[in-house]
Amino acid sequence: MKVKLWGTRGSIPSPGPETIRYGGNTSCVGVTLSDGSVLALDAGTGIRCLGLALGDQPARLHILLTHLHLDHIQGLVFFAPAFRPQTEIVIWGPASPEASLRDRIARYISAPLSPVEVRELPCDVSFRHCPETEWEIGSARVRAASVAHRGPTLGYRIDDGGSSLAYIPDHEPALGADLDQLEDDWISGLGLARDASLLIHDGQYADSEYPGHVGWGHSALSHSLAFARRAEAERSVLFHHDPMHSDDFLDGLAVEARERWQALGGEPGSLELGVERSEFELPAYAPRAAAPA
């Protein structure tokens, strides 16, 4: 499984010289499975560049939306494969009692916010509510679970070839709770993240910023670190950077995060801040041989 970060920013695109290294595009992660299937995790502005990189391939791809805040869907109408008649796109997302996934997305892909309507997209597009149980996409098994954020929001876990990716970009697991005091099953998202090969998790705020943003649906650094430690993932990436955080600020946050990570017992080098266009190759593991009878 290959993973590439196409957009690491949260809330609003933040291009400019101050954000050129960590990136200014909003949430999008490209995943290529071991059988060649392509997934896009979220469709923030980063998905525009993913679409350009895909060229004419593949004929079928899946977009897994965590939720429908604008920074996670804004790139949909600038995703080149959506404008190719030969492409089939399946968009997965959270159910809501209010309206179907298609109708909720159509509020954005419609006038006056968009020059095209969903029905006008040349590709063969379909919308599916994520099931409660695990399902298959290509060579992967995919699981979605509701996580603590504002509005219906999912996190995802993708298992493929013995490796696993957990993706929880917008997450406030410590809202009204002390993560250190909770049992595992009472921590939002932990079931998705536990023992993942790679965990991509919300890291929006520095600790000093969090008191002014309680309940906004995002984590302070302390929460991100505590969650990652409880998850025991092999590697963790802090993601969804606040638009106010310049590269210099994030450099400082990265140093603090690494120091505190190791103080918590984390493996050196196993936690980092997400950088746009960075890639991760999650190795395929051979199934463990059965013990002799």
Binding site: A95, S96, P97, E132, A145, S146, V147, A148, P152, L175, G176, A177, D184, D185, W186, I187, S188, G189, L190, G191, L192, R194, D195
Partner: protein, 140 residues
């Protein structure tokens, strides 16, 4: 590798909210298992949740021996929280409960189900003390 089955998010958020309340409150899952009560409820019952842990559906009612206005024990199936989860609608009643040290409390209980897009995930009961506490004797 250890597998974690996350509780439904609605229960997690309900527990977090209840933890911040000074009003006694119970939380049960979709099977009626008592999965949490807050500190205020612990003070009323005379036992913290951390001391007790989860309690099976047909057992937690016996923790506080609820009695009706006439002093008769209230059957488990008639408890407001049980009715709320079973019927998917709010339930309310007045009852008397006994804490671990034998103190009796007159309370009103409001219970409501936690309904989600995936169906019922459990229910919450909030206890409203209405009268003076007394030590003791089972009014029955």
């Amino acid at each position: 590798m250890s597998f974690v089955t996350q509780k439904p998010l609605e229960l997690i958020l309900a527990r977090n909210l209840m933890s911040a309340l000074s009003t006694p409150a119970f939380l049960v899952d979709e099977g009626g298992v008592l999965v949490f009560y807050n500190e205020a409820a612990g003070m009323m019952l005379g036992k913290r949740f951390e001391e007790l842990g989860t309690v099976e559906a047909d057992e937690w009612g016996q923790l506080f021996g609820p009695f009706d206005e006439g002093g008769e024990p209230i059957p488990y199936d008639d408890l407001p929280l049980v009715a709320a989860v079973r019927d998917g609608r709010p339930a309310h009643s007045e009852l008397e409960i006994h804490s671990a040290d034998g103190t009796s409390h007159q309370v009103e209980v409001s219970a409501f189900p936690i309904l989600t897009a995936h169906g019922s995930q459990g229910g919450i009961a909030i206890f409203w003390p209405t009268g003076a506490s007394g030590n003791g004797a089972n009014p029955a």
